[in-house]
Amino acid sequence: MERCYINGMGCISVQNTFEGNFLEHPIVYSDTNIIYAVKPNYKAFIPPAAIRRMSSGVKNSIVASALAIEQAQVNELDGIITGTGMGCIQDSEKFLEKMIDFNEEYLTPTSFIQSTHNTVSGQIALKLKCNAYNFTYVNTGGSFPSALLDGLMQIKNEGKNNILIGGIDEIADYTFKLYQTIGHIKKDNEESYHILESRSEGCVGGEGSTFFVLSNEKQDQTYAEVLDAHLVNKLKKEQLEGFINNFLQRNNMNISDVDAVVLGNNGDVNFDTYYDEAERLFKSNSDLLYYKHLFGEFMTAPSIAVWIASNVLKEGKAPSVLYKNNEKGSDSIKTVLIYNQYRGKDHSLTLLKNV
């Protein structure tokens, strides 16, 4: 069986991640519960007419995927696999609102075409003239973990050389307002921005596009090796320990072999209890790392966790901003486990090691 390496990555997020440095100057968002991605310089990647036409998620994805491909120095991809929770929701809203407000008149196809869930994977294929395998997963919190698992299987089991995977979600104003209305996102006036201490309902909503090139060959710039990935739709809190143990055992490891765990705490009192349980399991052996206080929550946020784990494994250590209370952690992190769930569902585990 082949090994699977992360040879390149690109991340557009609410932090300055596209410049390639690893959270050297983190932006602290302290007065909003919906945070928007920092726009990269689109002009260097996309023709001006397309910049006007494309939604932010598509543009961010084109930039992030280009960065990943450039870093990995690949000429030919054997697959393009994306995950997106809400899909191209900005164009969906646009078409939907026009259809409703103008009673099905004056509609044009552009936003309908661009609202399709596989717009990004299709656009990247089009741009690269890539005829290879092209998939898009849309399974809420399991969207990106599904894309990662598919990519991993292609490299490990199917003899493929280079697979591009990505996680994409974008903010659309009305839809996010609806999510605020039902308490999935914290209300505008609610002070709870320090989400690692927050114990109120809902999360701080974010967005991002994060891409990786998975390869069967280790190179100088390789970040990390992906050992395994797994996801299930449903889990009781008391089943989490068994879920994690089984997964680690399958990879000939146990809890004490994990140097750092990346947890998805998002400040939602109803569901962070899963992470409390994970903290309990790992706190005596492993560094506990958090990221959604910097990146916000969205359905494909686990892609950010993989970006973080990859950087941590390349450098051997994590910046203090990823620890609770800015504490200092280990400087020889060799194995990282990522655990994520979305509103108590779509529990995913990803295991990575250094190279």
């Binding site: 809400m86 005829n131 395998y133 092209n134 898009t136 609806l178 039902i182 299930v232 739709n233 889990l235």
Partner: protein, 397 residues
């Protein structure tokens, strides 16, 4: 060549039947399901024909015994009905089952409820439970919950090839040893968003769709859901279950030509078919019947036809499109047609391509127009979608 993946169960709802048996009888008796829209309020009502399931949402709710306050979209109700039939026919129990996987696909998700209540959500609290099932995955979750599945669950959305890709992923999960049993397929209910979207693309026919006809005017949208239960050899042998058929080949390729249109020569379609034969370790001449994508849009049928001529080196086997029966059921199309392909293998029958009159002037291809009895041991099924997404599946006895 990889291990064959067995199909041990199937379930389907479409405009021509609420279960597999009804669908089979309609196909055999030439009974199509295309009509005017009855259950959706749209200004396009009198301008287009669709393959609608002749049941209201309330009727679907009662078929599933759902509580009066539920947040099932039309798609997820159709999905739940078909998935239930699939697991029943496989003879497996899903309630509390942690070892069975579920790979669903959809393009519509919860859009039908969102479009209905969009402007009322903010001030009508009693509607707000529909907000959280807007996204596709939450609709899969409703079905998983309904069936009691606790395990590997995911959703694919690659436009009109979605269900083929769900079937393909299921096969790979079995062949890699990650699963022994998995429910795979797709669902899409009709909604205003989709109808209007396709209308702006000007590819909807105002009459009955005519695949591969020179005068074809476009597609009829349809709705439906269909699922297969895929199973490893070790698993079905252990429980002495006789497979319905096997999935032997599969592949996905990208046309990389245009966001919505297919390339002139059907490059992606050709590549998908060719790769599926490589995976199957079979030669094209082993195919007895092709269930074509055949949407009856000018663009699709031309590029699919050319790709077939190239692949089969001019000797295209018997083929038909079943979309004149069901309409184009989008994400569900490939699993609906997978069920029909299995009927073809089981019954040694080729179902007719309805409404065909004249050959296209670009090539010499005539679809099968009448029900034909013939020994069938291998079927190729094609599905192509937006984003250049092309998938082919090969089913064998």
């Amino acid at each position: 060549m990889k291990e064959k993946v067995a199909i041990t169960g199937m379930g389907i709802v479409s405009a021509i039947g609420m279960n597999a048996e009804e669908n089979f009888l309609s196909l055999k008796d030439n009974k199509h399901g295309i009509s005017k829209i009855a259950h959706i309020e749209t200004t396009l009502k009198d301008k287009i024909l669709v393959g609608e399931i002749k049941k209201s949402n309330q009727e679907l709710e009662s078929l599933l015994n759902l509580p009066s306050k539920n947040n099932f979209s039309r798609s997820s109700m159709l999905g739940a009905i078909a998935a239930k039939e699939a697991v029943q026919s496989a003879g497996i129990s899903t309630d509390g089952n942690t070892s069975i996987g579920f790979i669903n696909s959809t393009t519509v998700g919860g859009m039908d409820m969102i479009e209905k209540y969009y402007r009322d959500f903010l001030d009508q609290e009693e509607l707000q439970h529909y907000i959280e099932v807007h996204d596709a995955g939450s609709n899969t979750d409703l079905i998983a919950e309904h069936l009691g599945i606790q395990g590997f669950v995911t959703t694919i959305s690659t436009a009109c090839s979605s269900a083929a890709n769900a079937i393909m992923l299921g096969a790979k999960m079995i062949q890699s040893g990650r699963l022994d049993q998995v429910i795979v397929g797709g669902m899409d209910g009709l909604c205003k968003f989709t109808i209007n979207g396709f209308n702006t693309l000007m590819i909807l026919s105002d009459t009955y769709n005519q695949p591969f006809d020179d005068q074809r005017k476009g597609l009829n949208l349809g709705e439906g859901a269909a699922y297969l239960v895929l199973e490893s050899e070790a698993s079905y042998q252990k429980r002495n279950k006789k497979p319905l058929a096997y999935l032997k080949g599969y592949a996905n390729a990208n046309d990389a030509f245009h966001q919505t249109a297919s390339s002139e020569q059907g490059d992606g379609a050709y590549l998908a078919m060719k790769s599926a034969f490589e995976v199957a370790g079979m030669k094209p001449e082993a195919i007895d019947y092709v269930n074509v994508h055949g949407t009856a849009t000018p663009n699709n049928d031309l590029s699919e036809g050319r790709a077939m001529i190239k692949l089969f080196d001019q000797k295209v086997p018997d083929f038909s499109s079943t979309k004149p029966f069901t309409g184009h059921t989008l994400a569900a199309a490939a699993s609906v047609e997978a069920v029909y392909s299995i009927f073809a293998l089981r019954e040694n029958l080729i179902f007719p391509s309805l409404n065909f009159q004249n050959k296209m002037e670009e090539f010499d291809l005539t679809p099968q127009q009448e029900l034909k009895e013939k020994e069938i041991s291998a079927v190729l099924s094609n599905s192509f979608g937006f984003g250049g997404n092309c998938s082919s599946l090969i089913f064998v006895k």
